[in-house]
């Protein structure tokens, strides 16, 4: 195989941190190359340099044997480098064709463009209507917009940043089929992901980054996921352990809940029932936007349900607000860390007071006991290994993973009877994610019930006793997580693309 892109000695420093330090590797023509690393390992800085969004301080890149110095994304695209972003770079109010046009150098007339979008989407098995508004599309369809935007420019190198984090297993299969087809046509792919099993099934080579440096290369087809993870983390990976559980008394129950959110773009919860028992972890999967946020807000008390639908230890709580529920022992940690779980510009101490003031008895006659609050904040920071200069730092100044540890730790350490978490390890690196999962398991082992809403199926399979999935506001019947096959999970998640795949799959239980 001939070499397509070669990086040598790339270094990029930001004030106070060296994001990339002497990074070098090469990608062959038609190779699917994985770039692995924890959060903050320097993957996105590296990719930004290849895509022309930032300039390296030193080092060289060669493309097709010629010096490659992209000064802007336009220049990168002109050289045949395209990129699919992790957080989609899409415009919700614009339609598919307009979104595609914005990612092209010299887009044809809208009419012709719509036709080429249809052609390409057919050729690669990615159905997409160019006239639809992107705001109405599912996450999987949005990703197709990004991919087709890239494909229309006939790229030599396609960069994909965590492309599967928002997809159902079936959608992942469709994506992989497309990527393999591209590979067979000679396109190289630089594939960034946390999901090691995916990399093992898709990629031909892998480069592993840690703290801005290349710490290893391997052939992912022959290296085990555990070995790759340990290269990434730089230490032996701690996999959450759990004891055999004994199911306790029923703690929280939802019965025939119907809820229409105020937000017109929200998902209506339909006829939803669930129960969790002491010591149980209930995992709730599903593709984003199928009612996860609404379910969390109904449980946390931010949204009021009809009387008689939500009970805690047999006590009616449907109309209680968040603070009343906290007093009773039902705590929640929402998905959005900044702005929902924590107030960005307030210190960690103040953020501690915001949710812990009732259960931890942090105030007297409406005056906050700051000493006590600070002590509790420091407890959280020490117990959950939150890396911050001090408890007085603003929540905004913490990295995503560290803030997430703080947010989860703050609730866990208030000894909840029931804890509801949404996406507890989203965007968190492997070792921090493992410790968060362990904390949830420890909490359940201590007799609390945990409801974990997540889009990371591996995570749910790892910690759940029972598993259910949300699809368009309906919750599937919870089933024991042990022994569920990926096809069964896919059926529970009920993606629209499942029909053709699952009919041919043998032995699908009803």
């Amino acid at each position: 195989m001939t070499e397509l892109l070669k990086l040598q000695g790339l270094t990029k420093a930001y004030p106070g941190v060296i994001a990339n330090d002497d990074v070098g590797f090469s990608i062959a023509k038609g190779e699917v190359h994985a770039l692995l690393g924890e959060n903050g390992a320097g993957k996105s800085t590296l990719v930004k340099m290849i895509y022309g969004l930032t300039k390296p301080d030193s080092g060289t890149m060669t493309l097709h044997g010629e010096t490659y110095v992209p000064t802007s994304p336009q220049a990168a695209r002109a050289a045949g480098v395209a990129m699919v972003f992790q957080h989609f770079s899409l415009f919700e109010a614009l339609n598919v064709a307009e979104n595609v046009a914005l990612g092209m150098e010299n887009p044809p007339k809208m009419k012709d463009l719509a036709k080429s979008i249809r052609d390409v989407s057919q050729a690669y098995g990615l159905p997409l209507d160019p006239d639809r508004t992107v705001g109405d599309l599912s996450a999987g369809e949005r990703q197709r917009v990004e991919i087709i935007r890239c494909l229309l420019q006939d790229p030599k190198l396609l960069i994909m940043d965590e492309p599967t984090s928002v997809l159902t297993p079936q959608e992942v299969e469709i994506l992989f089929k497309t990527l393999r087809q591209l590979q067979s046509e000679g396109t190289s792919i630089l594939y960034i992901s946390h999901k090691l099993e995916e990399i093992r099934s898709l990629c031909d080579g892998a480069t592993i980054l840690r703290l801005g440096k290349v710490v290893g290369t391997c052939d992912p087809r022959t290296t085990s996921a555990r070995d790759m993870a340990e290269l990434m983390v730089g230490e032996t990976l701690h996999i959450p352990t759990r004891d055999a559980k004994t199911s306790g008394a029923e703690l929280l129950a939802i019965k025939d809940l119907n809820y229409a959110p105020k937000n017109p773009f929200g998902t209506r919860l339909k006829n939803l029932s669930l129960t969790v028992h002491a010591g149980e972890v209930l995992g709730i999967g599903g593709v984003a936007g199928n009612g996860q946020d609404e379910l969390l807000s109904v449980l946390s008390g931010e949204a009021r349900a009809q009387t008689g639908t939500v009970t805690l230890e047999g006590k009616e709580i449907s109309k209680l607000g968040p603070n009343a529920r906290r007093a009773l022992g039902l705590l929640a940690a929402p998905e959005e860390r900044l702005g929902h779980a924590a107030a960005p510009n307030m210190s960690l101490i103040e953020n501690t007071a915001l949710t812990a003031i009732i259960r931890k008895d942090l105030s007297k006659n409406s005056f906050i006991n700051w000493t006590k609050t600070e002590n509790f904040a420091n407890d959280i920071i020490a117990t959950f290994d939150v890396r911050t200069p001090s408890a007085t730092a603003a929540a905004r100044s913490l990295s995503g993973g560290n803030l997430q540890k703080f947010v989860i730790g703050r609730e866990v350490m208030q000894d909840p009877k029931v804890l509801v978490v949404n996406q507890p390890t989203w965007g968190v690196d492997a070792s921090a994610a493992a410790s968060i999962r362990q904390a949830l398991l420890d909490l359940a082992a201590g007799g609390a019930a945990v409801i974990c809403i997540s889009q990371d199926l591996d995570e749910l399979m790892e910690i759940s006793d029972h598993f259910a999935a949300l699809n368009e506001g309906r919750l599937s019947t919870p089933r024991a997580a042990k022994g569920l096959s990926i096809d069964e999970i896919g059926l529970m998640m009920g993606g629209s693309d499942t029909a053709s795949n699952t009919q041919t799959t043998e032995g699908v239980p009803a």
């Binding site: 022309g52 969004l53 994304p73 770079s89 415009f91 109010a93 614009l94 307009e98 046009a101 914005l102």
Partner: protein
Amino acid sequence: MDLGSISLVAFFASLMVASTPILLAALGEMITERAGVLNLGVEGMMIIGAICGFAVAVESGSAVMGFIGAAVGGALLSMLFALLTQFLYATQVPSGLALTLVGVGLASFIGQPYVGESPPAVAKMAIPVLEHIPFFGPAMFQHDAMVYISILLTIAIWAFLKFTRGGLILRAVGENHDAAHALGYKVRLVRVMAIGFGGALAGLGGAYISLIRVPQWTDGITAGIGWIALAIVVFASWKPGRVLFGAYLFGGLTALQLNLQAANVPLLLVLPYLVMLSGVIFLAIAVAAGSWKKTLDVKPTLKTFAQFIGTGLVLLLIGVLTNYASGLDLLLLSSAPFVATIVVLVVISARSKGASNGPAMLGKIFQAH
């Protein structure tokens, strides 16, 4: 009381003149907001345009030079806003309010030597052939060039936003600045240009007041027109056609108010019938549009129609009961253009589903990282 003394031709002609400054300023602000920038300094940029245009026109003796000077003046002042919000990352709302304060004060300072001066006259530019159409000719086609320019600008801006790549990029920047940046578009440059364009148009609108509509210089000459332009942009759902409609509606009501006042006719005597007439026109348009698109929501349409008629009847009743008291009428006269414009545009934007959402990044600070 002499309703017959109101000439319809003169009324429509004065309507267009009264609407043009609002239209210009609102179009400029619409472009700025479509790029995701909320500049509340329209009033300040207008009044700076008014005095710059006035001063340049007086000094050079040319109204054209005056308008150019007004556009430059408005754009220059808007660059102060651009500096604050795009380079120093100041919050947009207080920066815009400050811009108005600076503009009004500065205009008063610059304007002191010009009080009592009169600007060079602006020639009327009658459109050949069209000007001879009975009624419509004198009402619509015997104006100064700026009136036509403002309408052509509306069409040009509509086409720019809908059909050109530049318009698409502008909308993209206003919709999601992070994504636009990731795709390699220069968010800050686009925004600075949009702010400058908004300033230039606000300046033209201001100069139209001081050079044509009034035409003389007094302190506070824009009298809140900039704020109306801001409101029209929002209630017009950031659409050029509706901005034109809103500006003409406001201008029309202002002209009507002046005409009624001159004729000494109580507004309440006329208003109920106008409101009911609007209801009938609305119904006709809705039915026509519905039969064309082959979809007509009968219930909401009838409901809106009934609301128009009901409002008219209530106004009629108030008029009869108060016996057209002059105090009440004065209040109505001065507030009618504001209230009516906003009510009508709110009804329109409430009826169009989803389309009334503004640019998603409106007022948000963008910092490249």
